[in-house]
Subunit: 544 residues, 2 copies
C-alpha cells in the first residue's frame, strides 16, 4: 500500500547531510586530536569537512569508485575522521581494520573486503609492510602522520593537498553502504558487517538522546574506544549531528586521559571496563581532578559494582551500554528508569549493573531452549535476539541472511529481561553450562569468584558429567603471592550463587587464554581441558 | 546508484513501531488526563495501546479504509490520543480540526478532507450539531466524554468496548500518510498538510534530543498546546518514544496548570507566550510553587525578555521554538550554544530571545529581494526558507509543489541568521515595511512599543509614502486608564530602534483586529487603514 495524498519532502537519511549540518551549523566547534607522542592539535568541524572534500577528490583521482572499500588501520584522530567523511562522500565504503587481530586475520580481511586503498598510522608501518605482500587488492597506501625524515608511503596531507575541495558529494541512496567492520568470532573467519547511510543516521539520532549518550552542542565528547571498534560506538556520527566538541586520542593511558578530561573540559566519555580500572587506580594514586566529566558510558563487558559506585560517589552519571558490531553497535544503554528517584541506593546500583534498555529502533526478546519467547520477569534466562533499524540483515558477501525468517538476529548472548525493560547478560550462549536441564551462568560464577580475595582472574566451563550432562569447573589465576585454595573459593562462592551452581572443582593455572582482542577465550580453555574429568575429584557441590 | 553488498535490516520508520515500543518497554508509565470539569483520570501507555487496537477494529467495522480521513474535534486527553494511534494503526489519516476556526472554515475543511468519521468532545457538541448539515462526507459521529444523561451520538468507550483488541496494525509503507492538519492562512481557503509515518518518526527522534525537548523516560511532559495545533508540537509521538509520563489537559487555566505541575511533578512543558503570561501573573499573585518544572519551551510567537528572565531567575531552562504546521511543526529550537558558559547574563538572554537553531534534519537559509542567499551575519534580513525531513513538499490535493525546484519552502517569515546558527524572526514577509529600498521590521517596532508604559498592544503597518514607498504607522491600544500620548511613544522608541525606523505617526484604537486563532490580523488592520495618509500628520521621523 502506498498512498500519496500530499507529501512531506524526500530527504534521504544520508550521512553526508549530517556532515554538512556540522559544517554549516557548528563549523567553528573544535575537534581536538591527542597524539601518541604527547602533542595535541586542534581543528574544527568546518575544516574537517572542507578537507573531506579534498579527500573525496583525491580518492576519485586515485581511481576509487563508488562502492569500493577504502581501508584504514589507525587510531583515533582528525585525519582518520576526515578520511571517513571523504570516502563516504565520494560513495566509498570505509573499512576500519582492527590492528589487534592476528596477521593471518588481517591478510584475510583485506583480501575479503577487496580494499582498494589503505590509510594508516606511521606506528602501524611495520604491520603494514609485513602485510603488503599478502594483500592482493590494495593499490595505494597513504600514511596519516609521517614523522620527520619519513621515506615511506605518501603522506595524507600531501596527497589531499593537491586538490581544491570544490566537490559535491555523490548523490547516494540512503540504503547505500558507508562502512564495513569485521567481527572476530572465536570460530571461522571474521565476518563483515556493512553499515548503510540510513542505519548510521538513525543510529546517531537515537544515540544522542538523553537516555543514550545525552549529547548536546555543549557536550565535549571523548570516546576512549577505537574508531575501528564498531565506529567508536557511533560517536563520529553522533558528535557532528549535535555539533559538540569532540576529542580524539591515539593514547589511552590513564594519565593522558585524565589530563585531557581536565584540559579539554570533557563532559562525556565512553570505554570498556579496563580503561576505567586504570583510570580509577591512577586517580586514587594521584588525587587528580577529573574536570567537568559528567557522563560515563561503560560497554564491551560488564562494569564491576565497585566501579559503578566509584563514579556515583563523584556525581558522575554512569551507565552500561551493550552492543556488538552487528548492531552498529548500540543495543541497550543504561538511561535511568522512570522510577529512579524512588529507588534505594542499592537498587540504583543493581539497575546500573545491568546492561541497560533498548532505545526506540531496537526490539529485543529472549528465547528458551524450546524456541518459545520467555517472560520479562527478571528471572528467566534465554538466548538474546534483536532486530531493528541498525541491526545486520546479511553479512558482507554472505549467501544467506544472518537472521531468522522474522528478522530476528541471535546475538549469541544469554540474558534475562527485567519487568522495567532492562536487560542483563548472564552468559554467552556457547559458554552457558547446561546442568540437569537447567542453565548455569558461567559469567555470574566468574564475577563472584573474582570478588574473592586472592583471585586474579577466573573462567568457568562445563565439563561432561554422566548424570547432569554438564557440571561447572572453575579455572582460576591467583593474585601474585596469594595462597588462596580451592576450598577458600568454594566457601567464598556459597551464599553468592545458588547451591547447585557451586562448581564441582576448582583448578589453578598460571594464566588464562585470551583472544587477539583481549577477550577470555573459553574455546581454547575448553580445548585445554577437553580430557578433564571429575572422576577422582571430590565433588564440592550439593547437586551430585 | 543502489549498491547492496551486505545489508542492514529493513525496519520501516513507522509510527506504530513507536507506539509498540511504548507498550512493550514503558507500558506501566502513566498518561494522565486533566478534564475541564476539574477531575483527573490516569491510565498508562500499555492500556492506551491496547485500547488503540480496539479503536482500529471499531474503525474497520465502521467501514473506514486505509487512507480515509478520521477527524477529531477535541482538546487533549487520553481518549483523543488512543483514537490517534488506533486510526493510524488501521491505515487511517488522523485529521485534527481546530475548533477555533470560523464555522465556514470548519465546514470547508471537513468537506475538503472528505472526513469519514468524527470524534469530538461533548463541549464541542453545539458546534458539531450546527455543522452536521454542512459536512457532506462524515458518516459517523462519536463523542469522547458524554456526560450523565447524554442522549446524543455514541460514546467512544461504548463504541470500542465491543471489540476484543486482537488486532495487528496494518503493514504501512513509511511514506504513507498518518495525519492531516490545516493551516488557517489569512487569505484564501485553509490548506492541508499531510504528515507521513517516516516524517513523524524522524521528527520525534530529533525532538527528544537534549538540544530540543530533552525528553527521557524520567521526564514528565505536559504540552500546553492543543493536539489540533500541529500535533501538540509533536509531543504525542515524542513522549511514547521515550516512554515518559505524559500529562494531557483540556483546561489551560493558570491555576489548573500550576496545580498539575506540582501534583503530577511535571518537568517539561511547552506553550505559547500568552499561556506563560497568565501563569506568571498567577504565581506572582499566589506565590504558588511550580514543582520540579525544569524545562519550558515557548513558541507560536516571541517570548518577551522579561518572561525569559522570569524563568531564568527560577533556574528553569527556557528556550524558544519556532515552527509551523508545514514543518510538523519544529523548525528551530533554543538549545544552548557551545559557548553558553562564556556568555554574559545579557548575552544569554539575547540568545534565548531569538528563535533557536535547527536540529539535524532541517536546512535553513535567508534570501534577499534579489533572490540571492544572504550571509549569516546577524544583520542581514531576508525571506526565511527551509527544507528537510519533516517539511511539506505538496499540500493535500494540491496540483503543484509547495516548494521551489530545489525543494526550498518559503515560510513567509523574514528572519536573520546569526553566526552561531541561531535564527531571529524579524517579520512576516507580508508585514515587512519597505522604505526607501530598505526593510523595517514591524515586529521589532511592536515589541519596542509594548515595552513602553501605558501601551497594552501595538501593531505596525506600512502606509504609502510618495518618496519612500512606505513608511511605518504604529497603531496602539492604551492600557486601562493610561493617558500615554503619541509623543510619549515616539520618545520611548528613540534609542530602541534605528532613527529612520521611527514611525511617521501613532494612532490609538480601542482594540486591534485578531484572527480566529488569536493572532493579530494585519490584513484586517491594513483594510481599516487603507485610506490613511500621512498628509497633515506632522512627521515624527528623521527620514522625511
Amino acid at each position: 500500500m502506498t498512498l500519496r495524498l500530499g507529501t512531506m519532502q524526500d530527504w534521504p537519511l544520508n550521512v553526508m547531510r549530517l556532515v554538512d549540518h556540522a559544517e554549516r551549523e557548528h563549523g567553528q566547534n573544535e575537534v581536538v586530536s591527542a597524539w601518541a607522542d604527547g602533542s595535541t592539535t586542534r581543528t574544527n568541524w568546518g575544516t574537517i569537512v572542507a578537507k573531506a572534500r579534498q579527500t573525496a577528490q583525491a580518492l576519485e583521482a586515485a581511481g576509487v569508485k563508488p562502492g569500493d572499500r577504502v581501508a584504514t588501520l589507525a587510531m583515533n584522530h582528525d585525519r582518520h575522521l576526515t578520511s571517513w567523511y571523504g570516502a563516504i562522500g565520494m560513495g566509498g565504503v570505509i573499512h576500519t581494520i582492527n590492528p589487534r587481530l592476528f596477521p593471518e586475520q588481517l591478510a584475510y580481511i583485506g583480501n575479503h573486503a577487496e580494499d582498494k586503498i589503505l590509510f594508516y598510522d606511521a606506528m602501524m608501518a611495520p604491520l603494514v609492510e609485513a602485510l603488503k605482500q599478502h594483500w592482493t587488492t590494495i593499490e595505494k597506501y597513504i600514511v596519516y602522520d609521517p614523522p620527520e625524515g619519513w621515506e615511506g608511503d605518501q603522506s595524507f596531507e600531501d596527497w589531499i593537498g593537491g586538490h581544491d575541495g570544490d566537490y559535491q558529494w555523490v548523490d547516494a541512496d540512503e540504503r547505500d553502504p558507508v562502512g564495513l567492520c569485521y567481527t572476530s568470532g572465536t570460530t571461522g573467519n571474521p565476518k563483515g558487517v556493512i553499515y548503510e547511510h540510513r542505519s548510521m543516521v538513525i543510529h546517531a539520532l537515537a544515540g544522542i538522546q538523553p537516555d543514550c549518550f545525552n549529547l548536546s552542542e555543549r557536550s565535549v565528547a571523548l570516546p576512549i574506544v577505537p574508531m575501528f571498534h564498531a565506529n567508536a560506538w557511533g560517536m563520529p556520527f553522533a558528535a557532528p549531528m549535535t555539533g559538540c566538541k569532540m576529542v580524539l586520542s591515539a593514547d589511552y593511558s590513564a594519565p593522558r586521559m585524565v589530563k585531557l578530561f581536565r584540559e579539554e573540559k570533557v563532559t562525556h566519555s565512553a570505554g570498556v571496563p579496563t580503561i576505567w580500572v586504570d583510570m580509577i587506580a591512577h586517580i586514587e594514586k594521584t588525587g587528580e581532578d577529573l574536570g567537568p566529566l559528567q557522563n560515563v558510558t561503560i560497554g564491551g563487558s560488564a562494569a564491576p559494582r565497585a566501579m559503578i559506585k566509584w563514579f556515583r560517589a563523584r556525581d558522575i552519571q554512569v551507565g552500561h551500554a551493550w552492543g556488538m558490531t552487528e548492531l552498529s553497535p548500540l543495543g541497550t544503554i543504561g538511561g535511568k528508569p522512570a522510577e529512579w528517584d524512588a529507588m534505594s541506593d542499592e537498587e540504583q546500583v543493581d539497575y546500573t549493573a545491568r546492561q541497560g534498555r533498548v532505545p526506540f529502533g531496537i526490539e529485543m526478546r529472549i528465547i528458551g531452549d524450546d524456541g518459545q519467547e520467555l517472560p520479562r520477569d527478571g528471572k528467566s534466562s534465554g538466548n538474546l535476539e534483536v532486530r531493528g533499524a541498525w541491526v545486520v540483515d546479511r553479512y558482507f558477501k554472505a549467501d544467506a541472511p544472518a537472521t531468522d525468517k522474522d528478522g530476528w538476529f541471535d546475538t549469541g548472548d544469554v540474558a534475562c529481561l527485567h519487568p522495567d525493560g532492562s536487560m542483563q547478560i548472564t552468559d554467552r550462549s556457547k559458554d552457558v553450562i547446561k546442568s540437569g536441564g537447567e542453565w548455569i551462568s558461567s559469567i555470574e560464577l566468574e564475577n563472584a569468584a573474582i570478588g574473592i580475595d586472592g583471585v586474579h582472574e577466573a573462567a568457568c566451563i562445563g565439563i561432561f558429567h554422566p548424570k547432569w550432562d554438564e557440571r561447572p569447573l572453575l579455572v582460576c589465576v591467583r593474585e601474585d603471592g596469594s595462597q588462596v585454595s580451592a576450598d577458600d573459593i568454594i566457601a567464598g562462592l556459597k551464599g553468592q550463587v545458588a547451591k547447585w551452581w557451586i562448581p564441582d572443582a576448582v583448578e589453578f593455572v598460571d594464566e588464562l587464554p585470551h583472544t587477539a582482542t583481549g577477550k577470555l577465550s573459553k574455546k581454547t580453555l575448553r580445548e585445554q581441558f577437553s580430557d578433564y574429568s571429575f572422576d577422582g575429584v571430590e565433588s564440592m557441590t550439593g547437586r551430585d
